[in-house]
Symmetry: C2
Subunit: 204 residues, 2 copies
């Protein structure tokens, strides 16, 4: 598609870098912005940039935060001796939505992936070890590994577990099994297999 303007073309190309946005949608967005007031477009432009310039990471859990310590770490009512280790911000939001967890988090910012060139030092793994070792902001009794069940997630779990062994704390992981409401015949074999091996007492 040939556009009548390089500035429009640039905006379309840039908008098309958003995940799942093709050139057609990007053009639709750009033409919509063209018809908006300058102040509205400026607001959008600035809000996007602030994501990189103004957003902080919590000094303890490394979750995104507007303040030095995030609201979860700063919340006096949370159990400060349990840390749930997750890959990213989305995972924190998913777990928070369940309202079943009252401990703290530690956001790694990814998982170990030699193929993508992501090693231990690109992730917030050492800061997790330090957090357990120092007991700052609180002594840690349990670390829950809630990383994805991929080879990279497993590798990262293995590495963290090995590093945390000397501290003699409880290390757990999420229960895996057939989702509630799922038919057994549609569950994948690995999940169904794990949920048989990891069966739990029936609460009658």
């Amino acid at each position: 598609m040939e556009l009548p303007s390089k500035i429009l073309q640039d905006a379309v190309d840039q908008l098309a870098t958003l995940p799942g946005v093709g050139k057609r949608s990007a053009l639709r967005y750009a033409l919509h912005l063209l018809e908006e007031e300058e102040s509205a477009v400026r607001d959008l432009s600035e809000a996007i940039l602030k994501l990189k310039t103004d957003l902080h990471h919590c000094r303890y859990c490394h979750n995104i935060s507007d303040t030095e310590v995030c609201p979860i770490c700063a919340n006096e009512k949370r159990q400060k001796n349990i840390i749930c280790v997750v890959e990213n911000v989305q995972d924190v939001m998913a777990i928070e939505k369940t309202q079943q967890y009252r401990g703290l988090y530690h956001v790694l910012g990814g998982v170990i992936s030699p193929i993508d060139g992501i090693g231990v030092h690109d992730l917030e793994i050492n800061s997790l070890i330090n957090r357990v070792q120092s007991g700052d902001p609180a002594p840690v009794e349990e670390v829950i590994l809630a990383l994805p069940t991929t080879m990279e997630g497993d590798t990262t779990n293995y590495y963290i577990n090995k590093q945390l062994l000397p501290f003699n704390i409880k290390i757990t992981t999420l229960a895996r099994g057939v989702a509630i409401g799922d038919n057994l015949e549609y569950a994948d074999e690995i999940t169904l297999g794990r949920s048989i091996v990891g069966r739990i007492p029936f609460e009658g």
Copy 2:
């Protein structure tokens, strides 16, 4: 959905103003941008703002353009005595894609719509009349009205036609009819009716 940061929330709210983008997609875009390099996010942010700050409109046809005169009006090979009147930039792009039109355009920037408070003076109608009257940049022999077939489009056609009558030029409109490849039984009555009334000689 409660987000851990007001800055993130702002970015999500702003992205959700794009047409067809809901809060979930907006969050996906924002989290994607969070993981991008600052320079990439700055490029996007600037490209969006430039749509309002740097983009010009062609002094003749009022299509968007990076230059004072757009590439179509500046193209020596186009027929400068025919002007196709359209509602917006998208329409120019749609007609250009057919590669069937070699004349110039005039982009009104909308159609007369009393309900939306859009009158003659909010649109590039007077500049069209002037263009025909002055013969600048070229004497006009034909004006093609290619506005939408809505009540507003018809009103605008009617108004422009009345204003152009004194100049004694050819005023035409797009052929309307059953789309090529369409079954008659699925065509809407108005289109089918118009295509019978406006039937053309068979080219055997």
